[in-house]
């Protein structure tokens, strides 16, 4: 046996076999995820149709009524506001980093982005609880004449927007780096100012990439769990303003794993929530990836 193992060809065959097993596993993984979640949530389709599940507002697990609308709307609110905050910040920052900054500044900003990207979501959530929530309750809400504890859609969105900044920013920097320098040189030599060059040449050229970066960020924000869960309030109601509490889909799954097996069909409902997340995120990512691939071809 030992002699066999020292044989170069056997070794080659063994390791090749392992590589093929591993790669098949990785290729099957996304399908396994989708099918597994679907199979686990089929129990839910017996009584309610898909449309009813998605658009009903009534959430009464004990009566077997599952309407996901409040959770979907919660996710939509939080994600939309988060993207509204982080998109302009990332857009302008990436322009400065790629077009204006010097070597010294790059040595500061790149590690900063890395650290932001590495901070765990629980720590972001903690920051949300000790800083963002009181800030909203003490300073932002009074401006609008609203009294709130601060645990709101807005708090979730602010924390989330900070979390996706490094993610979107890195993609945007990569996108702007791929644009050939000759393009902007031609524009500058024709007498355009730096900003005009950015506006009419760079952004126009990079537009599909910019859209894709925002799309990836959106997908990332849609599935973020712990940080949002800690600050968003978790009240099962469709939010009507940014200061209302919300209850996004990931928070629903994370909060109820304890009771999962004690109420009939509840586990199926939570798996269905995971399935919604999975499908939405996969769809967005696929769409944006295709946009990037087409962009790279030009």
């Amino acid at each position: 046996m030992i002699v066999l193992f020292y044989n170069r060809k056997t070794k080659n065959r063994l390791s090749t076999a392992w590589m093929i097993i591993a790669i098949s596993f990785v290729i099957i993984l996304p399908f396994m995820l989708g099918i597994g979640l679907y199979y686990k949530s089929t129990l839910l389709f017996e009584k309610q149709s898909l449309g009813d599940l998605l658009f009903s507002k009534i959430w009464k697990p004990y009566d077997g009524k599952f309407g996901f609308m409040p959770f979907i709307m919660g996710s939509v609110w939080v994600t939309t506001i988060a993207m509204l905050i982080s998109t302009p910040i990332c857009f302008f920052s990436s322009l400065y980093i790629t077009q204006y900054s010097n070597k010294f500044y790059l040595r500061v900003i790149h590690p900063a982005i890395d650290i932001l990207a590495g901070i765990p979501s629980v720590v972001y959530g903690l920051w949300g609880v000790i800083f963002v929530v009181p800030f909203i309750s003490n300073y932002i809400a009074p401006i609008f004449g609203i009294k709130t504890m601060g645990y709101s859609v807005l708090a979730g969105a602010i924390v989330l927007s900070v979390m996706v900044i490094p993610f979107i920013l890195n993609i945007l920097i990569e996108i702007f780096k791929t644009i050939p320098i000759e393009l902007s040189e031609a524009s500058l030599s024709l007498g355009a100012t730096k900003w005009q060059t950015i506006k009419f040449v760079l952004v126009k050229k990079a537009l599909p990439g910019i859209i894709a970066a925002v799309g990836f960020g959106l997908a990332r924000a849609f599935g973020e769990t712990m940080a949002v869960l800690m600050v968003v309030g978790n009240v099962i109601k469709i939010p009507h303003s940014a200061f209302d509490p919300g209850y996004p889909l990931p928070a629903l799954i994370a909060n109820n794993y304890g009771e999962m097996l004690s109420i009939p069909k509840y586990d199926a409902a939570l798996m269905f929530a995971a399935l919604i997340l999975f499908v939405v995120v996969m769809f967005f990512n696929a769409l944006m990836r295709m946009l990037i691939i087409r962009y790279e071809k030009y």
Partner: protein
């Protein structure tokens, strides 16, 4: 005149946005450390929770620190055993099949984006399917699934840059493809691959949503794979949920511990990736 004003205005906006990002980073680090350092004692690091810990009695979070390290080491090890060969396969065996490699990359990019809570839910159903209980093993398997795409794609990005000539030279000298993979290509980009592994480790140790269902929670330090294990992120989450102020302070202190671990990993991987770029052919 207007042109100049516009130029200056937007440059100001850009600088402002950069400033916001740096300011928020400093703010986060400051708020966590400011609140956490007061409660951070030697006891926190070296003892596990005693009776009544969650009502403010003494103890520490050693169970969570050790649990997190076990879990992340286990998951990173498993993901390395599966992931590095896959990345090598894509860049050595399939080097001439660009289309297949691109399809695999596409799939990997897709599952990279899947939120960790979905892996958590999936891991839970796997666990129920195989009749496992919440345990270190179930947690390790779930986290492995979660970090696998990250690991493969970052290794792949590193290996992609290794020159084709190196591969051809190794093969033409008569080495098998395995030898080419592990002794030439992997060795050449070793520090880069280690950076990728560290990145995955950082992801594994910081994620809470995927282990919420699967690893369980306990005040003991796990001694075998079938026992439940506490993790730092979850311990922060649970301690913060307590109404007792002392316990909440400990949540801040635990967050300092977790942040320091992450910062160390980040510094290490930066140093390594510098080395990788220096030795690159």
């Amino acid at each position: 005149m207007l042109k100049k004003f516009e130029e200056m205005f937007f440059k100001f906006i850009m600088m402002l946005c950069n400033f916001i990002i740096l300011f928020v980073l400093v703010l986060i680090i400051y708020s966590i450390f400011h609140k956490g350092m007061k409660a951070l004692t030697w006891e926190m690091l070296t003892q596990r929770p005693h009776g009544g810990y969650y009502y403010g009695k003494e103890g520490g979070v050693l169970n969570a620190i050790v649990g997190s390290l076990y879990l992340s080491f286990g998951a990173t090890l498993l993901a390395t055993i599966i992931g590095v060969p896959v990345a090598l396969y894509m860049n050595v065996y399939l080097i001439k099949r660009k289309k297949i490699v691109n399809v695999i990359r596409f799939l990997l990019d897709l599952i990279w984006g899947v939120p960790s809570i979905v892996y958590g839910a999936f891991g839970f159903s796997l666990m129920v399917f195989f009749g496992l209980k919440t345990s270190l093993l179930a947690g390790i398997i779930t986290v492995t699934l979660f970090i696998l795409p990250i690991m493969i794609r970052s290794c792949d990005e590193i290996l992609k840059t290794s020159p084709l000539g190196l591969l051809e030279a190794a093969l033409s000298l008569g080495s098998t493809r395995t030898e080419t993979s592990f002794r030439v290509i992997l060795k050449q980009s070793f520090s880069g691959v280690v950076t990728a592994i560290l990145l995955s480790f950082g992801r594994a140790i910081g994620d809470a949503a995927s282990v919420l269902f699967t690893a369980g929670y306990t005040d003991n330090i796990p001694t075998s794979l079938s026992e439940p294990a506490a993790t730092l992120p979850l311990s922060i989450f649970f301690q913060l949920g307590s109404p007792v102020p002392e316990v909440q302070n400990r949540a801040y202190a635990s967050a300092v511990i977790l942040t320091v671990i992450i910062l160390i990993i980040s510094l290490l991987s930066r140093a390594l990736s510098k080395r990788f770029h220096k030795n690159k052919i």
